[in-house]
Structures are given as structure tokens and as C-alpha cells.
């Protein structure tokens, strides 16, 4: 069936901010879909609140609405744009839930909008566990036995009916398994059910028989309107059932199924797709298999693209989202050609002749006090994927891709095992379990025994054993005594050069030299969807140690772009966004762009994004190998965040040409003492600072500059290990921590400017001119990590003269340190003095936001400058033009995922993502940013206010405003006294330690709608901690800073006044990029290419 001509405008709903369980895989899928639909001639309307996405670039849709993904706002967009169809399956659970709400409330019918891809019935059947279980029974498939609970008392009868504990709790319609878990007794059951009921949009929880320890598989399935179906990929979870698939190490294709079992699973997957009624598109089906008798249960299916489908697309070269979009508009699989082979159709099942391993990336170090056991509720914040010919090779590569400081799977001298409870490291799923397994094998324990303890299939354990055996052989020789065969075997088992250096008591450089001397060179092979059966034309490569290299000869000068690696807190989608923009810009400038990255969720690892894609870890060894294969004219290290920046110096030392800002300038900005000299020379103020390499040095510095002090390790992102110290005891404790975080670098100590207003600036410098993309005024005051604080473009309280001073400082600093490309500077303004807090001559987290807010894609501008163009030639709009609106960026926090961790904001970044809200005035923009995160703001009810002494004066205005808006005020004694003194009626409530009923009881009883609670001190088990924890538990809007309190109250007023309309990016001025000059020409002349 050809393209549908009866629809012309299609609404695509994105997934909103990056949160745990829903990351940039939906930018990847959404961007693909938008591209395809526009190529097919449809008018695409997009709603997504996440400014850091490629899909929200104005080129990707005809109308781009950076608005909250809520039924209310999407309805406004529908009313304005009148789409014919809505494609709900590409925006994750958020997009799907929103589409369901619009369908059920009759909005779609009222506006004549057709759901394409998946109909409401199919979505409900796939998502509603009860309907799903009935559907499975109808086609003779088994699901785990279970029962539904809508309350704790409902749940209490279920253990009896289901044969006792353990039981699995699964709330309906939540993403990433939120609110789910395994319970072993009735107390845990009650807690988990209560939590699950509150999280589920339908207040429903499934309590299920446990299949913990069974093998877990996933099938990625596609179906077209003509009922043609294919399996794109099978994925096997190495961790047995009981660990969320997002937290499992997974492998593709499945490794431990015979054809008989595989085909039974395939048949079941297709039958499920048909029974659920997914008319077109992709779905993911999960199975559990009893390893003892092969009994197969269906666990769940997602009638939409998912994290697993992104992984499957990257693992196979079969672009699921792109094909799903085509199928949704009427094409059939046999009408679509396979991009990679070009000759064969998409109606086939990819065959893989390599092994793909995905390892999750956790961030437990950010959430002290939380339980780090892996369960059915996803806790990882990102993932790395690696491709190798064999499992052990891919596993080693995946572990060194994680950037946890490990050099691979063990063998790096960095293991720290709990010797007392060593076996617990095997039996209880945890982030270090694979290291325990490797070490257990090293200690001589048996494959079967380890398999019994971990419930991991012995085949995988044996694969790890083969690596451990090779390690053993390496340990017995010296670097000089290493044979070519052993070197090759070590590489084929995934051991990195630095691991070998550790095993051989040598260093990485010597190992590399010796390896090359032995003739053990890497080869690059293609991901071609067909295991070599057909000629592939798409250059998508992975490294392995084999006999044949497949890298295509170059046609143009090449530029290598180093990506950002796995998502983690502090380094997320924003950097991928910058890398993608750099790639687009350099391609347009005549270069062949070569992307290196290992994050399967991203747009940068779409084989369509760059001219060539290498799916490789971002380590010196792996990057250098690609560089030697590609011989680029330049390497871009300043777009992918700290990951590539850390490699800059080593690459330059190895003779690699670095494009743009030189490592020398990067080091200068990072080196406090030398940089202070620069600022002194320029006459720019900065907080008194010092560096310390030891505790005694730290004390000395503190005595010189005084408390409070900002303490941080150098060369870290996201404020890792950063704290504010008010006294010596606290300082010493954290200096010790900081040394652990970044042992090769000194600890930085800055005078902390309490109460200052923070400002972020992103700019581009070409060595002659500086273009300031945006001046962002923070809403939270200094001391909150910039990644966690909300900010606004343009500035909303700062005076123009201050902003002018900030611009001037930015220009002078950028030029002085030799910036060639992007630069981000953080300023603090206190008592009308502008201080420089930090300078990073690289892409920053705020670049995408600035680009969306101002219509000037800074990363693209920077890439063109780095390739040789001058700012003066780029026809950029004036810096100080009136944007016609206020744009607010707000951070999204994952505290709900980490019960037990404190949610107070501080200098260490904890947010996972961001949203943008824009409107004609600041309060309305701020209101939208809040709605985009929480999906609601309280408009009436009881506001609880409890603030520290410092804030007691400022809170009066906020409280008055809340009263005027109709809120009742509830306060603890101290705050209440202050408010009463100002004439504000207040009801007093007890603090937690003062007796009962106290504030937490009130919150639990849903008697509080808004909490304003600024922290009193640092002790984590304080009242404040319990209040914040209760707010998270009960989903109450919780504000922890004065600035946010003021903004929120204004926002509530704006919302109540109905000032929240919608607008598309295309309604505002955008940079009309001049045709790039052929920057690459100069290289062609030089290289004679």
C-alpha cells in the first residue's frame, strides 16, 4: 500500500525531559520519525518540552512547540494546528499516556484527529495488564499469575491467592517500572502497593507471582498494514528476571536459545502483536523462560518504540523508528528499502555476525543513602553499548565505555570487594556484580557454582572465564615476552591496552607500541544488517581484531567528532546535541564527518547523522585506533563534554590535530592558579581561591580566604564531589572525598559568595570576534549547581549595565585564553560586583537551550568557526535584540527514584534533564517550565512554609502573595511568628520532632498542596529531610530555595490568570545560515585529495 494521501498534517508527541527510564532514545526515534514524515511531504507538528533534543530543532518539523507534554497544552496545539493525525508511539510512555488521555477525553474526536500507528484499543490492551492477561489467554500464551489491587487492603489478600512471597509489584501505566519492586513480606507489600497506587495514573497495581531467576528475553517486532511482520532483533538479558531490563546487562542477539525455542518465542511475539492489534509499527515483547524446563511466560509488551528498540536499531542497523513512521502513513515493509544494503527490502530479519553488549550506567554516588540493589524498578541513568565479534570482546569494550574510571571488566587494580560478604556481591544484583563474577573466577570458583549464585546463564560466566584465563596467561609474561598470539588473544577477549599495562606492570604507551610492533592491529568491520550476505554501502563500523578491515576509502577530508559517551548526571543529551550539530555543520562545509560514540540512545549514533559512524568506547586507545584508520585533518574534542576533553592532551601529544580551542587553552582555564593570573591581568574579579593537594594545604587555604568555601575536585563534570563547607571539620571530610573522585588533580577551594545571583554565558569566539549567544540569569542563587538551577533568557532582574559588564568580561576572557569555538562562563553577581566563577572553553549544557531560545544554533556556528569561517561572515543577528519572549530552562530531578536520598539542592548536580517554558512574561514562562516537569502546579489549598532564619524576611512577600491567590498558610512555630508579625494569618503545625500530628502527618493526609522549605543546616536526618522525603513520596510540589518560591508564586498567578498560551519556534526569528564556504577545500589542496 502506498503513502496515505488522505492526511496531510501529523502531530508527533515527544517524551519531554530526560528522566530515569526515558532518556534520549526518544529523541533518536522522534527525530528519525519527523525526518521521514517531512521527507514524505507531510506537514509535521511537534510537541516536546525538552529543548536539548535534536527533534525540537526548528528544521525537524514545520511547527515545533516547546510546550509541556500534557493533555491541556497538546489540546491547545491541536486547536491551533488542526492536525489530521496523531502519531503517539514515538514519545515513550509520556507521549503515549498523553495521547491516550486526549483520545479518552474526546479531544481527538472533537478535532477530527486520527490516531495512527496504534489505535486506542491496542494501546490499552498492551498497557493495561488486566486486558493484556486476557488477550494472552485468548491466544494460548501464559503470563505470570497475578491479581490487581487498588488499595493496600486489596493487596493483603493476594499473597494467599498467589502462593506466598516473593511477589512482584507492578503499577499500571508508569514508565521504567516506577513504583514497582519485589516484596518478601507483608510489610514490604503494604509499602510498595501504597506507593504504586499513588504513582499509577489509574491507581492500579498488579501483584504477580515471582519468576525471579528465570531467563529474560526481549523481541523487537514490526508489523505493517498488510500484516507482514518481522523480528528485528532478539535481546537476552544477562541478569535474570528480577532486575529491570534497563538495569540489566543485555546481549544481542540472544545467545542461549536453540532454534526451536527461538521460533516459539518468535511465533508468540507475532501472535501477541496481532492479538493486541498493533496495526503498524514496532513493539517490544518481553518473555521469561524457566531455565530448568523451558516454560515460557509473556511478561509484557510495549506497543511503541522503546529504549530496547533504540538499542536494537543500533545493534542491527535496522532503523525501527524510521520504518515505524513510514508504516504509520501506509507503506508496507516490502515497499521500503533497507538503507544499509540499498538493494534489499526492509521486509527481512537482520542477521548479526557480531555480538552486542549493553551495560547500564548508574549514578548511585550522587544519591547517598539510597538502596543500590538492582530490582524491577529502573535506577540507571544511561547506558553504553559495545560491539565486538565475540561476547567477551564486546563485554570488555562495554565496561571501558562506561567511564566509571575502570579500564574494562576488572584487571585494572581498581577492584574493591567486600571480602566479608563477597558472595553477597554475587547473589544480590548490584552494579559491580560482573566484577565480582570475574574475580570469583579468578579465585578459582566454578562456572556452575557462580551461575547458581547469580542465576546468570553458565554460558555467559564461561565467557567471562575465558577472559580471566587470558588475563592469567598475560600475568605470567612480561611485555617483552608477550607473543603476537597472546597479544591478539588478549585483544580478542576485550582487554584494553591500559588493562594489559596493569597486568604487565607497564604503561599504556609501551603496550600500544609493543602491540603494533607485534603486528597486532585492530580491524574495523561493518554493521550491515545481513551478516555479509550483501554489499553494504553505509559506513557504520566497529573495531575488532580479525583478518580483514572494511573501512571505505575516503572521498573528502575527514573530521572526527568525539561524542559524549553514556548519559550520566552532569553529562547528558545536551552534549550529544552539540556533537550532532557539529557533524551537520562540518558535513555542510565539505568534510566527511566521522562520529565516535558508544551511547546507543543518542541521535549521534544514528548511522544517518554523520558520514561515518564508529560505535566505540571513548578511550585514548579506541579513539586513537579510529584516528589511525581515518587519518582526519582534525579532531573535535570540545563538543562532547568532559569525556573527549580529558583525551585532548593525550591526543595532541600523539600528534593528532585538534580543531578549534587547543588543549593548552583548555588546561589554562582549568588551572586555577594560572587562570587567576589571567583574570588579574584583565582586571576581572573572582572569588578568593586556592588549590590544595592535601588536607593540611586545604586548612591553610581556608584560613587565608575564610569560610564558607566551595570545595571541588578539578576536571569533573556536574559538580561531582562538590560541597559548600562552613567549617573545618566538614572541609576535611570532603577534601578526602574529592581526592578519591579525581586523584591525579588538586582540590579546588573557592570563597563561596552566599546570596549572589548566578549567570551563565555561552559564546563563540573565532580568535578575532566573540559572539555572545545568551546571557542566562539563574533563578536559584549561587551555591546550587548551574545544571540544577532554573535560568532565564533574557535576564529578568539584573540591570543592563551589569549585563553589559558580563558581556565585556566574556569577550576579553574568550580572546585572552585563545578560544576558538564555544566557551561557557559562569559569573556571580553580588553587591553589584561581577565575579567569574568558572570558565569552560567548550560546549556547555546550556548550548541547546540558548539555541532554542534565541534561534541561533550556537554549536553549528562554533563548528563552522572551528573549520575556518569568521563570525563576521556568518550574518549573525545582533546580540542584544529583543527576543519578544522570556524562556526559562528548569532542571528535572530524579529524587522519586531514589527513596532515602536527600532532595535538597546543592553544588553537586543531581538532575537528569531539563525542560523549557517560554512566554511573553517571566512568570508565565516559569509556570510552563514547572508544568512541563510536574504536569501540574497547585492553584489553591494549603501552602506549608518553613524557612531558615536567613529567609525569614524575604518569605513575607511570598506568603502575602499566596494569601492573595487564595492559599491558606501553614507554618512551623518560628516561621509562623515572622509571618504573623507581618499580619499574615497562619495556622501553626508541629515539626516532626515536636510530636504529633506533625507536618509529615498533614502531608500524608493530603492536607498540604504546596511546600516551601528552605534547608536549615546540613544534617540530612533533620526535619527538612523528612519533609522533603514526604513531599516526594506524595507528589507534593516542593520548593527548597527562596528564589524558586518567588518565581513559583508568580507562576501560579500567571496560571490562574490563564496567561499560558502556546507558540511555535517557527513564530520567532531564526538565524538564516549563510551557505558555508567550502572550508574543507583548504585541506584538499594541502592533502592533494
Amino acid at each position: 500500500m502506498p503513502r496515505r494521501d488522505d492526511i496531510s498534517t501529523i502531530l508527533v508527541i515527544g517524551s519531554g525531559p530526560i528522566v530515569i527510564g526515558q532518556a534520549c532514545e526518544f529523541d533518536y526515534s522522534g527525530a528519525q520519525a519527523c525526518k521521514v514524515l517531512r521527507d514524505e511531504g507531510y506537514r509535521v507538528v511537534l510537541v516536546n518540552s525538552n529543548p536539548a533534543t535534536i527533534m525540537t530543532d526548528p528544521e525537524f518539523a514545520d511547527r515545533t512547540y516547546l510546550e509541556p507534554v500534557t493533555p491541556e497544552f497538546v489540546e491547545k496545539v491541536i486547536a491551533a494546528e488542526r492536525p489530521d493525525a496523531l502519531l503517539p508511539t514515538l514519545g515513550g510512555q509520556t507521549g503515549l499516556n498523553c495521547a491516550v488521555a486526549l483520545a479518552e477525553s474526546g479531544v481527538l474526536e472533537r478535532y477530527g484527529v486520527e490516531l495512527i500507528g496504534a489505535k486506542l484499543d491496542a494501546i490499552k490492551k498492551g498497557e493495561d495488564r488486566k486486558l493484556f492477561a486476557e488477550a494472552m489467554a485468548a491466544i494460548g500464551l501464559e503470563v505470570p499469575r497475578g491479581g490487581y489491587a487498588y488499595s493496600v487492603s486489596d493487596a493483603e489478600r493476594l499473597p494467599g491467592e498467589l502462593g506466598g512471597f516473593p511477589l512482584v509489584i507492578r503499577p499500571s501505566f508508569t514508565m521504567g517500572g516506577a513504583g514497582g519492586g519485589i516484596v518478601y513480606n507483608v510489610d514490604e507489600l503494604r509499602d510498595q502497593v501504597a506507593h504504586g497506587v499513588s504513582l499509577s495514573p489509574t491507581g492500579e497495581v498488579l501483584v504477580e507471582e515471582s519468576v525471579i531467576g528465570w531467563k529474560e528475553y526481549e523481541m523487537e517486532v514490526m508489523r505493517d498494514a498488510n500484516d507482514n511482520t518481522v523480528i528485528v532483533c532478539s535481546i537476552e538479558n544477562i541478569d535474570a528476571m528480577g532486575v529491570h531490563t534497563g538495569d540489566s546487562i543485555t546481549v544481542a542477539p540472544a545467545q542461549t536459545l536453540t532454534d526451536r525455542e527461538y521460533q516459539v518465542m518468535r511465533d508468540a511475539s507475532l501472535a501477541i502483536l496481532r492479538e493486541i492489534g498493533v496495526e503498524t509499527g514496532g513493539s517490544n515483547v518481553q518473555f521469561a523462560v524457566n531455565p530448568l524446563d523451558g516454560r515460557m511466560l509473556v511478561i509484557e509488551m510495549n506497543p511503541r518504540v522503546s529504549r530496547s528498540s533504540a538499542l536494537a536499531s543500533k545493534a542491527t542497523g535496522f532503523p525501527i523508528a524510521k520504518i515505524a513512521a513510514k508504516l504509520a502513513v501506509g507503506f508496507t515493509l516490502d515497499e521500503i528499502s533497507n538503507d544499509i544494503t540499498r538493494e534489499t527490502p526492509a521486509c527481512f530479519e537482520p542477521s548479526i555476525d557480531y555480538t552486542v553488549v549493553k551495560v547500564p550506567r548508574w549514578a548511585f554516588e550522587k544519591f547517598k543513602g539510597t538502596d543500590t540493589t538492582l530490582t524491577t524498578r529502573m535506577k540507571s541513568v544511561g547506558e553504553a553499548m559495545a560491539i565486538g565479534r565475540t561476547f567477551s570482546e564486546a563485554l570488555g569494550k562495554a565496561f571501558r565505555s562506561l567511564e566509571t574510571g575502570r579500564l574494562g571488566l576488572g584487571a585494572d587494580g581498581k577492584d574493591a570487594f567486600d571480602e566479608v560478604k563477597f558472595d553477597r556481591g554475587l547473589t544480590v544484583p548490584n552494579e559491580n556484580r560482573m566484577f565480582y563474577i570475574a574475580d570469583a573466577l579468578w579465585r578459582g570458583r566454578d562456572v556452575q557454582e557462580i551461575s547458581d549464585l547469580t542465576r546468570i546463564d553458565p554460558w555467559f560466566i564461561d565467557q567471562v572465564k575465558s577472559q580471566v584465563e587470558v588475563e592469567g596467561m598475560v600475568r605470567k609474561v612480561s611485555l617483552e615476552g608477550m607473543s603476537a598470539d597472546l597479544m591478539r588473544s588478549a585483544k580478542q577477549h576485550g582487554l584494553s591496552d591500559p588493562q594489559l599495562a596493569h597486568l604487565l606492570h607497564s604503561d599504556e604507551t609501551s603496550v600500544r607500541a609493543r602491540r603494533l610492533e607485534l603486528g597486532v592491529r585492530p580491524t574495523f568491520k561493518s554493521v550491515d544488517t545481513c551478516a555479509g550476505e550483501f554489499l553494504a554501502t553505509t559506513p557504520y563500523y566497529y573495531k575488532t581484531y580479525e583478518d580483514e578491515d572494511e573501512v571505505a576509502p575516503a572521498t573528502r577530508p575527514r573530521v572526527v567528532i568525539l561524542g559524549a559517551g553514556p548519559n550520566r548526571i552532569g553529562q547528558g543529551i545536551e552534549f550529544d546535541y552539540c556533537c550532532v550539530h557539529a557533524s551537520y555543520a562540518l558535513h555542510a562545509a565539505g568534510y566527511e564527518t566521522v562520529m565516535i560514540n558508544c551511547n546507543p540512545e543518542t541521535v549521534s549514533t544514528d548511522y544517518d547523522t554523520s558520514d561515518r559512524l564508529y560505535f566505540e568506547p571513548l578511550t585514548f586507545e579506541d579513539v586513537m585506533d579510529v584516528i589511525e584508520a581515518e587519518k582526519p585533518v582534525g579532531v573535535l574534542v570540545t563538543f562532547g563534554g568532559q569525556t573527549p576533553l580529558k583525551l585532548a592532551r593525550a591526543l595532541e601529544d600523539a600528534g593528532v590535530p585538534i580543531l578549534g580551542t587547543k588543549p593548552e587553552a583548555i588546561d589554562l582555564a582549568e588551572d586555577r592558579e594560572r587562570f587567576a593570573e589571567v583574570l588579574d591581568r584583565l582586571g576581572i574579579a573572582y572569588p578568593a581561591a586556592g588549590t590544595a593537594r592535601s588536607a593540611s594545604e586545604a586548612v591553610e587555604v581556608a584560613s587565608r580566604i575564610g569560610y564558607p568555601l566551595l570545595v571541588r575536585p578539578s576536571y569533573v563534570l556536574g559538580g561531582r564531589g562538590m560541597v559548600i563547607a562552613y567549617d573545618e571539620e566538614y572541609l576535611l571530610r570532603h577534601v578526602a572525598d574529592a581526592v578519591v573522585v579525581s586523584p591525579d588533580h588538586p582540590v579546588l577551594l573557592d570563597r563561596f559568595l552566599e546570596g549572589a545571583i548566578e549567570v551563565d554565558v555561552d559564546a563563540v569566539c573565532d580568535g578575532r570576534d566573540v559572539y555572545i549567544g545568551g546571557v542566562m540569569e539563574h533563578i536559584e542563587e549561587a551555591g546550587i549547581h548551574s545544571g540544577d538551577s532554573a535560568c532565564c533568557i533574557p535576564h529578568f532582574t539584573l540591570g543592563d549595565s551589569i549585563v553589559e559588564e558580563i558581556r565585556g568580561h566574556t569577550r576579553r576572557i574568550a580572546l585572552e585564553i585563545g578560544t576558538h569555538g564555544l566557551i561557557n562562563i559562569q559569573f556571580a553577581v553580588k553587591d553589584s560586583t561581577v565575579y567569574v566563577l568558572e570558565v569552560n572553553p567548550r560546549a556547555s549544557r546550556t548550548v541547546p537551550f540558548v539555541s532554542k531560545a534565541t534561534g541561533v544554533p550556537l554549536a553549528k556556528v562554533a563548528a563552522r568557526v572551528m573549520a575556518g569561517e569568521m563570525l563576521a561572515d556568518l550574518a549573525l543577528p545582533p546580540e542584544e535584540r529583543d527576543l519578544g519572549r522570556f524562556c526559562v530552562k528548569e532542571a528535572v530531578m530524579p529524587f522519586g527514584r531514589f527513596p532515602g536520598a536527600d532532595s535538597v539542592l546543592g553544588p553537586e548536580m543531581k538532575s537528569t534533564g531539563e525542560v523549557m517554558g517560554s512566554a511573553a512574561d517571566f512568570p508565565a514562562a516559569y509556570a510552563k517550565s514547572q508544568l512541563a516537569i510536574d504536569y501540574s502546579l497547585p492553584s489553591e489549598g494549603v501552602a506549608f512554609i518553613s524557612v531558615c532564619d536567613r529567609d525569614k524576611r524575604a518569605i513575607v512577600g511570598v506568603a502575602m502573595h499566596l494569601r492573595a491567590l487564595g492559599f491558606e498558610i501553614l507554618s512551623t512555630r518560628g516561621t509562623a511568628r515572622g509571618l504573623r508579625a507581618a499580619g499574615i494569618p497562619v495556622t501553626e503545625v508541629l515539626k516532626v520532632h515536636e510530636g504529633r500530628p506533625n507536618i509529615v502527618d498533614r502531608m500524608t493526609d493530603a492536607q498540604v498542596q504546596l511546600v516551601i522549605n528552605t534547608p536549615f543546616g546540613r544534617e540530612t536526618r533533620s526535619d527538612g529531610y523528612q519533609i522533603r522525603a514526604a513531599a516526594i513520596r506524595h507528589g507534593i510540589t516542593n520548593i527548597t530555595t527562596m528564589a524558586a518560591a518567588q518565581a513559583s508564586v508568580q507562576a501560579i498567578e500567571a496560571m490562574k490568570a490563564g496567561r499560558l498560551g502556546v507558540s511555535a519556534l517557527q513564530d520567532f526569528d531564526r538565524w538564516q545560515a549563510p551557505v558555508p564556504c567550502d572550508s574543507a577545500a583548504v585541506h584538499r589542496d594541502v592533502a592533494g585529495e
Partner: protein, 433 residues
């Protein structure tokens, strides 16, 4: 196994691949081919169609699930050798009764691991299938390549007689060699159709599928005469898969020629080539064949695509059957050999065979647009080049066994009505009315 023993794979063009032995000791020659299935190594090794061939698996990890009794596709291994990237030391599956290396030892099959199988696959793709030798004894590249170059090729070679039974037997009982399959399929209750199946290297799963469709099957040697077959008064005759060059199996397609029109016929793989040769077509050798479980085939009668299991090195030239009959081909006058044009038009073209009248093209491989299924319009006979019995591979084409039953029942729409998807669509349409 104790120490790793070295092994060498040599191709007739001199290309050599050193590796380690992971099967029996010895030296074995055959045609080097590759299979892209990610599962089902045991079924592939025990498929008699691989007689005379050395199989390279493109899936890097082979042997992970060991071997078991139920997944045997014949009484033993027929492939002449196995080439893999990495052989599993452990067998991890609840049904496993042995590891794969132990099984290969027991079956006397020479195997090599540690080979860059992707390089080998690309080499065969570019240069075409070629003769090869694996050895654990002769590790000299020059000597072994010379042996490869002097090995017999497959063209013109009848391997069917080497793999087929020499006396008849009933499916479900012991075969004449004394082998009894562990799994013979579950026959439905009720009366059954009597089918005679020529053994040319028949896979057990074809027999299981026939049994499950409701056939009781008598397997006869390929040299059985038409009169002997008719003396068994079968409801249908089945022609199986098998190894070697179909053109060399003239006795079988000549017998088939005598049977056509007297009894319904269904052929798979070599059986498809037999039917084609019987109606006057010619066959040719594909450069490197189709071997895998992911090949898209369109049924031109329904327009639907089946993901199929394939294993063939020879192919039927549909246009060689006879001239196009435009009136029966949607009024179109395309070249009957231009498969892409027929797929685009959604028309199943009909050509006229001298001896048996109109022959319709029913199935086309969408990867390389080769003919993969046909039927006689005036005689009860149809065949497909691929493997609807799967094992290994997807079950999408399983409906063809139902089609065979429908053919024996005398239904004209046998090839379309039994596709469950068509049945579903029809059900839905009726529901709408």
C-alpha cells in the same frame, strides 16, 4: 579436549584460514558455503542438503546450546565440515545431551574455529561458492589449497543417492539404517491422507509437518519408479530437499514427469527444482546461494511476504519454462524473467510449458528477485524453493502444508486460502459486513 589442536581451512583460490580444530581429526573437502542463520546450527549440520559442503556459520558463537535428540533433522551430520568464529566449550540448555564439539567428534566431522568468518563470507560472496578443504593433518597452505582445487565440485554431481534411503519405510518407525527420530510430530485425530515422499535427503521436520497436517507418509528411495509409487495408491506425492546439482538427478524428475497429472504433487527445495525441470525449465547455479533464516519471499497470489528459511545453491530459470501467456498474466507483457516487474505489478505471471500447459510463478525472493515458487494450473502440483518446514528458521510459510492438504482435497485456492493472514483478513472483512 585437552590441548588446542591447529587446523587449516584452504580454498581452491589459495586463500587459507588458520584456526583451531573443534571437531574430529582428519581432512575433509567440500564446497565452501555460508549460512546466516543465528540459531539452528544442529539442524543445519544434520540437514542432508549440506552433503558435499563445508558450512561456515556467520553467527560468531556456535554450540552455545549444545545438541539434543529432538533437533536432529536426519540420522546424522551430512555437512562435510564446519567453520566457526568461536565454538562454545559449554552447552547451556535444559534439553542438551552433549556439547557440539563432542557431537562433531562422534559424527566424525572436521571443524575449525578462530576463523574470520566474516572475511570468508565476504570472500565467498564476491568470488562465489568454491571448493575447500579443512584439515587437522595437513597444515601447509600450498598443499591444502592444491587439495581444494582438485576436489570434486558440485556442478553436475548427483549427491542424492549418497544421502537417500535405499529401501522404503513408514514415518514414525525406524528408518532402514536403524535410526529412530526422537520427535516425529503429533498427528491430528481423524482420517489421514496417504502421501509418498521421495527421499532425496528429506529433513525430518518436513515429515513432522506433513504428519501434523494429517498425512501418513511413506518414504521411498529416489529411484522408485512412477509405477511403484502409483501402486501405493497415494493421495499425494511429496518431493523433498536434497544436495547437489538438480540437473544431475534426472531419474527423479523423469519419474515426476510420469506422475504429474495422476496425483497431487508438492515439492520443496530440490523438489521444486525437480518439478521445474519436469515441466521443462532449466536450473542454474547461484553465485553463492541462499542460506539463512531471514529471506523475504512474496506470495504473488496474496501479495504478502513470508520470512523464510532457505538453503539452495541452484535456482530455477522461470522464463525457460516457456512463453508468457499475457492473457493469464494480468494482460501484461513483461519479460517473464523480470521478477521485479511482476512483484511491482502484483501479478503472478503464467507461462506455457510444452508438456504440462500453463505454469504460474507464485513466489519470488525479494532480495535478489529470483523465482522461488510455482504451480501447474492444469495439473495438481506446486513447489517452493525455500523451506516452509523451517528447522531452523521462521514458521511464516508453514501454511504450505495446509495448502498441500487443500490441494489433495481438490481446492483451487489452495495456495492463498491457507495463509492464516489471508484468512484473518477475510474474517475481518466478513465481520465488517
Amino acid at each position: 579436549m585437552t590441548l588446542s589442536r591447529r587446523a587449516l581451512l584452504a580454498l581452491e583460490d589459495g586463500r587459507c584460514f588458520p584456526g583451531l580444530a573443534c571437531g574430529a581429526d582428519g581432512t575433509s573437502d567440500g564446497e565452501a558455503v555460508f549460512n546466516t542463520s543465528m540459531t539452528g546450527y544442529q539442524e543445519i549440520l544434520t540437514d542432508p542438503s549440506y552433503a558435499g559442503q563445508i558450512v561456515t556459520m556467520t553467527m560468531p558463537h556456535i554450540g552455545n546450546c549444545g545438541v539434543n535428540e529432538e533437533d536432529m533433522e536426519s540420522r546424522g551430520v551430512f555437512a562435510r565440515g564446519l567453520v566457526v568464529r568461536q565454538m562454545s566449550r559449554v552447552s547451556s540448555n535444559w534439553r542438551a545431551t552433549s556439547t557440539l564439539p563432542a557431537f562433531l567428534h562422534q559424527q566424525g566431522v572436521v571443524a575449525i574455529e578462530g576463523v574470520d568468518t566474516r572475511l570468508l563470507t565476504r570472500h565467498l560472496r564476491e568470488r562465489g561458492a568454491m571448493r575447500a578443504v579443512i584439515s587437522t593433518e595437513d597444515l601447509d597452505p600450498i598443499s591444502l589449497s592444491a587439495k581444494a582445487a582438485s576436489a570434486p565440485g558440485l556442478v553436475g554431481r548427483d549427491l542424492v543417492r549418497e544421502v537417500a534411503v535405499t529401501s522404503p519405510f513408514e514415518w514414525g518407525s525406524e528408518d532402514p539404517t536403524g535410526y529412530r527420530p526422537a520427535d516425529t510430530g503429533t498427528a491430528p485425530a481423524g482420517p489421514s491422507r496417504r502421501v509418498v515422499a521421495f527421499d532425496s535427503g528429506i529433513k525430518f521436520n518436513i515429515l513432522r509437518r506433513l504428519a501434523e497436517a494429517g498425512c501418513s507418509v511413506r518414504i521411498v528411495p529416489p529411484t522408485t519408479s512412477a509405477a511403484e509409487v502409483l501402486a501405493l495408491s497415494p493421495d499425494g506425492v511429496f518431493l523433498a530437499n536434497g544436495p547437489g546439482d538438480p540437473a544431475a538427478v534426472d531419474y527423479l524428475y523423469n519419474t515426476l514427469g510420469a506422475l504429474l497429472g495422476t496425483v497431487p504433487v508438492f515439492g520443496i527445495c530440490l523438489g521444486h527444482q525437480m518439478l521445474s525441470l519436469a515441466v521443462g525449465a532449466t536450473t542454474f547455479k547461484l553465485k553463492y546461494g541462499h542460506r539463512g533464516g531471514n529471506q523475504p519471499v512474496m506470495n504473488l497470489l496474496t501479495g504478502q511476504v513470508e520470512v523464510t528459511s532457505q538453503n539452495h545453491g541452484f535456482c530455477v530459470d522461470f522464463a525457460s519454462v516457456g512463453p508468457l501467456v499475457p492473457a493469464s498474466s494480468g494482460g501484461l507483457d513483461h519479460d517473464p524473467g523480470d521478477m521485479a516487474a511482476w512483484v511491482r505489478a502484483g501479478v503472478a505471471p503464467v507461462v506455457s510449458s510444452e508438456r504440462f500447459g500453463p505454469v504460474q510463478l507464485t513466489h519470488v525472493n525479494l532480495n535478489d528477485m529470483t523465482a522461488e515458487g510455482l504451480r501447474l494450473l492444469e495439473k495438481k502440483a506446486f513447489s517452493v524453493q525455500y523451506h516452509p518446514e523451517a528447522a531452523p528458521g521462521p514458521h511464516d510459510a508453514r501454511y504450505l502444508f495446509g495448502a498441500f492438504m487443500a490441494l489433495m482435497d481438490g481446492r483451487d485456492d489452495y495456495l492463498s486460502a491457507h495463509d492464516p493472514r489471508v484468512a484473518r483478513a477475510r474474517g475481518a472483512a466478513e465481520g465488517d459486513r
